[in-house]
Amino acid sequence: MLKYFASRLLTFIPTFIGVTLISFGFIRVLPGDPIIVMAGERGISAERYAELSAQFGFDRPILVQFWEYFLGVLQGDLGQSFVTKRPVWDEFFALFPATLELSICAMIFAVALGLPAGVIAAVNRGKFFDRALMSTALIGYSMPIFWWALLLIIVFSGNLQWTPVSGRIDLLYYFPDATGFMLIDSLVSGQSGAFKSAVRHLILPTIVLGTIPLAVIARQTRSAMLEVLSEDYIRTARAKGMSPGRINGIHALRNALIPVITVIGLSVGTLLAGAILTETIFSWPGIGKWMVDSIFRRDYPVVQGGLLLIAVMVMVVNLTVDMLYGVINPKIRKR
């Protein structure tokens, strides 16, 4: 067991160094000199250029620069944004709760609908219900979510006027963000209508971001259930006269859940990629929109730091899933 954990951790280290190297290297090859970009249209004198160049360390050998960057990363220093002059680390963690809140809601939406849909489809294999659910799932899986978002806006914000188009809450309400989660903060603030407003802002982005995970979970649950339902122990349970509800809901689903949980864990990357589009469309102030804005503003330290933090986050989640899987399934450990 320990050996398995150790070997998984050991592969983490070179990958981490590689990820750092890539996010560092990207910025070095980006077109446009960062200092010239910072100076903007006013231009810059040669002396000031040399001064700034020395200040940021751009005049030193590239390997030295990487080493210092790497040491900084290990200490949580990712540099400063060119635009806001705030540390990248602080900016990231100020915006992260918004993305986390949206992602959690999207995942709850996906699991709450996807699991039952998959189970129902598997139990009714080959029947109309199965076909209808799986066709819908395949459409969801093929959905260009940026278009899906626009469609939902046309119908629910445009025609029906039910939901707002952008942001996390109406500008009317103001309260300090204690946790960074708008749902909790608005509830705690006690202002009437604040919570309702937050929920209404959250609905469309949640549906948009949750659509592809929903389809994936429904498909995965169905195939895992089908596999488990053909096992001997299920036949035994049937032979004993156990009720179908109990067999499907408890005996089968429990074992079918293992691959499903893996899929949920591994969809963090998909969720973050989806967050880029969803947040941009709904002006959701999270890290996805922050990254896109920074790319357009050529705010190199932010792009660099954000890329690194997101990659490390995905890696940590994948590693955790891997290890949990090792705990659940002893066969994996032996490899």
């Binding site: 980006l30 093929s142 260009p144 278009w147 990629a273």
Partner: protein, 301 residues
């Protein structure tokens, strides 16, 4: 007569034509056949776009800007699916857009698959240290969410359709490497490979002629699936302004251009999205059918 049919049947039993066998299983899946028809229609549109589209996709009819489709009040048969804010014919632009998406799919899959297969083969046959290095590099690429990595790559290379294709190909390539390597690893243990080695086959022959053909089934399925991923990602990049640039009638770019008109003119937003969805759906249906037809485990059950 019966003799003739019998010997025919014998021949078929002895060695079924792999293509015919494949079609036999593929045909079972009605969704997949349906997907194939749509895909053929899509390819046809892409190939003969200039002949099919009624107007030049960039020609502007300023007097008819934002004209709705023919079935709505104010629409006309001159522009069956309406016009966009600059008065360009939607139908012509959609047909021309099929070209870009098809091209993106073909180019991305070719680059990603050929590169990925080569690296995967090398990794599968290489000494352990080289294999470890290659797999760690792939882990690094896979650690970044694909769209984010493609976005940053395009920002570096400069926004254009070509660069978007290169970026997407780089992002998709590790999947082929892993898949090929995994198949190679399991094939290498088998007796026929040992036999080929004993007979004196060289390393290159072992890799490309003995082992590779037996690893192709999952790679073909992956190719179909990444064809649709490539179209989706290219459209997403176009939507974010980092793919094909206006006035190119690429579907994602068309959506980005239409965004500010969504509440006034539903058709400029709806049609490009339907085009993307239908194409991607057709390819995914085909991919499911391919997997069922090529996966020997499923065949028997």
């Amino acid at each position: 007569m019966s003799d003739a049919t019998l010997s025919e049947a014998d021949k078929a039993a002895a060695r079924p034509n792999p293509l015919r066998e494949f079609w036999f299983y593929f045909r079972e899946n009605r969704g997949a056949v349906f997907g194939l028809y749509i895909f053929v229609a899509f390819a046809f549109c892409a190939a003969f776009a200039p002949l099919l589209s009624p107007y030049d996709p960039t020609e502007q009819f300023r007097a008819n800007a934002l004209q709705p489709p023919f079935w709505q009040a104010g629409g006309s048969w001159a522009f069956p699916l309406g016009t966009d804010p600059l008065g360009r014919d939607m139908l012509s632009r959609l047909i021309e857009g099929a070209r870009y998406s098809f091209f993106v799919g073909i180019v991305v899959v070719t680059i990603a698959a050929s590169g990925g297969i080569l690296v995967g083969l090398i990794s599968g046959f290489a000494p352990r240290w080289l294999d470890a290095i290659i797999m760690r590099i792939m882990d690094v690429i896979l650690a970044f969410p694909s769209l984010l990595l493609a976005l940053v790559l395009v920002a570096i290379l400069g926004p254009s359709l070509t660069n978007a294709m290169i970026a997407i190909a780089i992002v998709l390539q590790p999947h082929y490497v892993r898949l090929t390597r995994a198949s190679v690893m399991s094939e290498r243990q088998k007796d026929y490979v040992t036999a080929a080695k004993v007979v004196g086959a060289g390393q290159a022959r072992l890799m490309f002629i003995t082992v590779l053909p037996n690893c192709l089934a999952p790679i073909i399925v992956q190719a179909a699936l990444s064809f649709s991923t490539a179209i989706l990602d290219a459209a997403a990049l176009g939507f974010l302004g980092m793919g094909a640039q206006p006035p190119t009638p690429e579907w994602g770019t068309m959506l980005a251009e239409a965004r500010e008109f969504i509440l006034r003119a539903w058709w400029v937003v709806t049609f490009p999205g339907i085009a993307i969805l239908v194409t991607v759906l057709a390819i995914n249906l085909m991919g499911d059918g391919l997997r069922d037809a090529l996966d020997p485990k499923l065949k028997r059950s």
